[in-house]
């Protein structure tokens, strides 16, 4: 059962490494959006600290959105999606592989960058640590849920906008608990509860989302 998942991950990572501009554009978008806030708001440390969790998390959501339309569209255009749908494995497992690869390409780099960018907001070491943890736990959910939207809008004109309208509302719980975890650390109430709920969302997102995604892909292939 693991072979097809691993094969898809290896394939997608190899493709991503040959097309580094795609990864770089997502990361630069994240860096620039986050860096605009301290410039626009001014250097008041108290205010920046208060804004930091929300700004970093919203920027992470938007950066993930940016990479979603390409999740299936390239495979759809060159016919590989048809071949993936005709393999003897359940399509859901293949989608799970694509979701994992998407996280490794977008979620993981965002997580690694976030603490560096958090310094601009004068966050304490503790808060930076919780910020990284919350992104590490929360970004898989973004990839999983996003895959549903990417599959539903496959082959539709202007799918980039449509995918945002479909998926951003579904990201709200992840945003609330993710930013809430960092906020709770800043106010000293402890982030454990937020992180547990975030982990629950991530598990549900990664392991349940591939099946509706697979169903949507089969419809798109008709």
């Amino acid at each position: 059962m693991l072979t097809p998942i691993l094969a898809v991950i290896v394939r997608d990572l190899r493709l991503a490494l040959r097309r580094r501009a795609d990864i770089a554009s997502v990361l630069f978008f994240f860096i620039i959006v986050v860096s605009l806030f301290p410039l626009g708001i001014g250097p008041e440390p108290e205010q920046l600290r208060k804004l930091a969790p929300g700004v970093l998390w919203v920027a992470a959501l938007l950066a993930t959105m940016l990479s979603l339309p390409r999740l299936f569209s390239d495979d759809h255009r060159d016919g590989t999606l048809e071949q993936l749908a005709l393999t003897p494995q359940p399509l859901g497992l293949i989608v799970l592989g694509k979701v994992c690869a998407h996280w490794l390409i977008s979620g993981l780099p965002l997580t690694l960058l976030a603490p560096v960018l958090g310094i601009q907001f004068d966050l304490s070491g503790d808060a930076l640590w919780i910020l990284s943890c919350s992104l590490l736990i929360g970004t898989p959910a973004l990839s999983g849920i996003g895959a549903i939207g990417a599959a539903l809008t496959l082959g539709v004109r202007g799918s980039g906008v449509l995918v945002s309208l479909l998926i951003l509302p579904l990201y709200i719980p992840v945003l609330i608990f993710g930013a809430g975890a960092v906020d709770a650390t800043l106010t000293g109430t402890g982030a454990q509860a937020h992180l547990s709920l975030l982990a629950a969302l991530a598990l549900a997102g990664v392991f349940f989302a591939p099946w509706p995604t697979a169903a949507a892909l089969r419809i798109a292939l008709e």
């Binding site: 060159d78 048809e82 393999t87 494995q89 089969r218």
Partner: protein, 208 residues
């Protein structure tokens, strides 16, 4: 054995064909013919199970393909109108990856031999984006060399190929039929394939 009865295809508001039925025994070849837009590709996609038929049924060894599901997909090799190769990967990587995903992994030596047979020796490490149309088609067709699944569904396999490659692919299909395999293909080119029995099905627009 592949058997269909009374197949109907509706795309949008238009009925492409209706009442299509045929029966294909082991070792037989079916040529699908028809004008552009007569529904050849749609019929092939129906036979794969990608496109649901508006009416009628498709039986593989006596059982409906929808019910067989993964067991049917394990018996099937489909080559679509798109090449299904990744431009960023080399021919060798494309071939090996598609073999792993199809759950029929190839040794590197086998893959290299297959590419050489299709005249791609010396190109196996070049990204597919630098290859010509015909060479890309050859990469896609290299899958057939080690393909031992009984049912081949090929959509315009000879398009963009030169005469030598057409002959090579015809030989591959012929060998597959000799082994007792079945093949359904659409083509506009008359190609000699050494097969036990060749059937033809002509799709005419608005068949009722």
């Amino acid at each position: 054995m592949l058997e269909t009865s009374n197949l109907e295809c509706i795309r949008g508001d238009r009925r492409l064909f209706a009442g299509v039925g045929f029966r294909l025994e082991d070792g037989e070849l079916l040529y699908l013919q028809g004008t552009n837009g007569s529904g050849k590709t749609s019929l092939l996609r129906m036979l794969c199970g990608l496109l649901p038929a508006a009416a009628g049924e498709i039986l593989w060894r006596g059982q409906p393909i929808g019910k067989l599901g993964e067991d049917y997909r394990r018996e099937l090799c489909f080559l679509g109108h798109h090449n299904a190769i990744k431009e960023e990967l080399t021919p060798l990587e494309n071939l090996m990856t598609s073999a792993v995903l199809a759950d029929d992994p190839l040794e590197e030596g086998q893959a290299l031999d297959a590419l050489e047979l299709l005249g791609l020796a010396g190109r196996e490490d070049l990204a597919c984006r630098y290859l010509s149309q015909g060479q890309k088609r050859r990469v896609a067709l290299a899958r057939l060399v080690n393909e031992r699944r009984p049912l081949w569904l090929l959509d315009e396999p000879f398009v963009a190929l030169d005469a030598a490659a057409v002959e090579q692919v015809a030989r591959l299909i012929g060998a597959h039929l000799q082994r007792g395999g079945l093949a359904v293909l659409t083509t506009h080119q008359p190609v000699e394939i050494a097969a036990g029995a060749v059937r033809q099905l002509v799709l005419t627009p608005g068949t009722t």
